[in-house]
């Protein structure tokens, strides 16, 4: 039990340190690496909560997908990779606002007694149950999410490609018309 709580404290420290790195560093690459570290800490918490499958998905999608996409976007555009001057006054105001939020919600959390369900049986956490739920109760949400992802990919390709296809067609027409 003792070693478990030590592990939880370490994971929470990794997550908080990564998030603080992401929130306060001016260099973009450092912030992205902070986000990655934070994801690893949170994935450890997920495993402790009982769901290794969701933890693996979190690491795969965030570290393997989102972080890498951010690094690519950073490398493609020069102006993004160079850190912009941060306004100290703005940071102070943001910290004050977030601090007030933490105080308010922290008080609420501390003063609330949550009903306990007494813990789930290990069988309730089986990955097979997630697969069954995806295809039965949550079928519509699953299909909707896949449509949203498809539209996001098509939309981002269309946005990033911009005016180029029509321009190319115009020049192709011009070449055809020339001879």
């Amino acid at each position: 039990m003792m070693s478990t709580s030590v592990a939880i404290v370490c994971l929470a420290a990794v997550a908080i340190a990564g998030a603080a790195f992401a929130a306060f560093r001016t260099h973009v690459l450092h912030a992205i690496m902070g986000l990655g570290a934070c994801v690893f800490g949170v994935a450890g918490i997920f495993i402790w909560l009982g769901s290794p499958f969701v933890a693996a998905m979190l690491v795969l999608i965030y570290v393997g997908g989102i972080t890498v996409a951010m690094v690519f976007a950073m490398m493609l555009s020069q102006s993004v990779s160079q850190g912009m001057k941060t306004d100290v006054r703005k940071v102070a105001l943001a910290v004050i606002a977030a601090g007030a939020f933490v105080l308010g919600v922290g008080n609420l959390i501390g003063s609330t007694e949550f009903a306990s369900n007494g813990g789930h049986a290990p069988a309730a956490w089986q990955t097979a149950r997630i697969g069954r739920a995806l295809l039965e109760e949550y079928n519509i949400a699953f299909e909707l999410l896949s449509v949203v992802l498809l539209l996001a990919v098509i939309g981002s390709i269309a946005v990033a490609a911009g005016e180029r296809p029509t321009g190319r067609r115009g020049s192709a027409d011009g070449q055809e018309g020339a001879p």
Partner: protein
Amino acid sequence: MTLHVVLLLGLILFALGMVAVLSRRNPIMVLIGVELMMIAAGMNFLAFSSFVGPDPVVGQMAVLLLVGLAAGETAIFLSMMLVLHKTRRRIDVEELTEVRE
């Protein structure tokens, strides 16, 4: 008690994401802040379904859907940023005010 610890961790992560969203001028930093907030929300879903809810599948489904949405959002956001970089060399969140009027 353990539920409170996880909720407090989620609260801290959410607040750090909030600081990044509110104070940064670089769009990638704003995106990182949004992602931090989404991770914190997902952790709360899983914590509640682990300690309070009757069925842990519900919380796991919520986290999976949330992560999928975050991936789509990142794709759209980054492509918009590339277009902004092509049309104007410098991307500053505070200078993007054309749609406001």
